[in-house]
Amino acid sequence: MKLRAQLARLWNTRNTTVSLLAMAAGLLTVTESVYWMTTSPWTWARGATFTIRLIAIAWFILDPGIGGIAVACAQVMDFLSPWSTPISMLFMGLLATGITGFLRRRVGAGVAFILVAGAAGNLVSRDTSFMNDGGIVSYAALVLAATVVGTATRTATWRHDQEKRNREIRRNTAITQQLHDYAMNDMNDVIMLLDEAISRHADIPERRALKRIRTGAVNALTQTRKAIVALEYVDAPEDAGAPTVRRQPGTSGRSALHQQVCALLDEQQDILQSLGFQGTVLLPNTLPPAGEDNTDLIVGLVRELLGNVAHHADPSQGYTLALCADVEALDVSLADTPVDPPSPGVSPTGLGSGLRRYAAAITARRGGMGGPCPTA
């Protein structure tokens, strides 16, 4: 029962392509072996050899990773026996080398060694053998070629699987980010709006319906959170260039925009400090790459804004600069207190010529530039 269960497990977990190859080669070998058995005088030794060969082939079909060793041993047994080995068994040995090299590199190398050692034994133990006259060199070259093919196929398959996995990770990360940034916030907005409606309209008959809708929204929010957790990968993609939205790379991974902005901030804050300004700068851990033109525009805009602080702001009130970025847009905000407040009736958003120039460039890029943000 235990053996049957193990055989069933091996059958269910087999690699189909590899098993089909092994079965095809095995069938050929068994057919040739049967032919030789029926056309040669019977001996117990031949019978045992045949049986061992059959078991090795069956094991190879079920578990090619380890069964390859059995095939190699059966081949060595044939090399060292006084009777001829079936030709198909030689090919079976090469196939076993390649397949075990594909499945398990070290086992493949071991199988290759066993076969070449067996061939050497055949050369030494027999006066006439196809290993003579350079045959062993040809056989060793074939074994080596089979090993290389198996290993190279393994490497290529592994790389392909890794790239596929990395693509899935990137896709899931993008989905997770969308769910996190939009779906979660939208569902939360629904819940808060319902809370507001339920609190404001305590006596309406629809209150019960609103509460049921709220319950549904809370359930949807909970399930979305679970979906995000299920989609998120812990391991980052293995190719260095893959974007990882959630990850925050160190200094070496910062974009040219980030580096230039940091360098500019150092210089400008130096100047502002000497003028008596105590400022706060908020930067994300990384700014996305923006292309050369956009980088120049953004760096120029930050320089202009900080220059305006020096010229027009009240040092005792300091300044705060914030750069916020997502994959679609970059937001640059500056808050300070003008030395000369604008006259009543005059819009405080009046832009100087410098900022007007930047406003035009930003508008051309489908962005916008505005004045003070309203507070409630």
């Binding site: 907005d189 929010l221 995000i228 901030l265 130096d270 400090q273 700014l287 905000s333 943000c373």
Partner: protein, 227 residues
């Protein structure tokens, strides 16, 4: 102090920072409902981090508590909280998120906040959190956050830990000259190097002190009384 609802509270000025306009309006409406004679709340709101910090630092009226969303288009609520803890040491900070709060708890605690609320349950948790944080306490008491006083002390300890940093002789000279209000050109002339070299040294110093900008380095040195 008893928790009696009839005890009159001093007016509490509460700021709200959230880049989601809908959530911002709902929270302001919620705060308006919580405004009672026993709990007077004066609320302001902004979707702009720069403006919110400026208001907390230099507003005409002092902000007692600020509610900060944890995701602000690339900036994190923890970054805002850390900056506020440095610039406005006595302010109470409450983080809020539409996502799972557990993911932000540790970094928000390290930033010096007093509470982290799930936006979907704000209706129930906000009044209690405001009552606690406006008095400088953490919410809930066993939630893993520090009080305002403890956060301030923790921030000072963190500054002290950064003292164990090895700077080269030249880096120390650059730092010392910067502290004496010399600008980059003047430092370059004094050290007989180019301005680019001075910037390079500054970059190294920033990395060693784990600071984002040179201003943070100067601020750190001032807090450590380095002349």
């Amino acid at each position: 102090m008893s928790e009696s609802t009839t005890t009159p509270y001093s007016p509490v000025r509460v700021g709200v920072l959230d880049n989601d306009i809908c959530a911002l309006e709902c929270i302001v409406a919620l705060l308006a409902r919580l405004n009672t004679p026993n709990r007077q709340i004066d609320a302001w709101a902004s979707n702009n981090p720069a403006q919110a910090i400026q208001e907390c630092r230099f507003g005409v009226r002092r902000t007692n508590v600020i509610l900060v969303d944890m995701a602000l288009n690339g900036l994190t609520g923890a970054q805002i909280a850390a900056r506020l803890r440095r610039d406005v040491p006595d302010i109470g900070i409450i983080g809020m998120t539409a996502y799972q709060p557990e993911l932000y708890r540790e970094q928000l605690h390290a930033a010096g906040a007093q509470a982290l609320l799930d936006k979907s349950t704000l209706r129930k948790t906000l009044p209690l959190a405001l009552d606690a944080v406006s008095r400088g306490l953490a919410y809930p008491a066993d939630g893993g956050f520090d009080s305002v006083v403890q956060s301030r002390m923790a921030a000072s300890d963190e500054t002290a830990k950064r003292q164990v940093v090895w700077l080269t002789v030249t880096e120390r000279r650059v730092l010392s000259l910067s502290m004496s209000s010399m600008n980059t050109r003047e430092i370059a002339q004094t050290l007989h190097v180019s301005a680019d070299t001075v910037f390079s040294h500054r970059r190294n110093i920033k990395n060693k002190l784990h600071s984002n900008t040179w201003y943070d380095v100067m601020d750190l040195c001032r807090s450590m009384h380095i002349a």
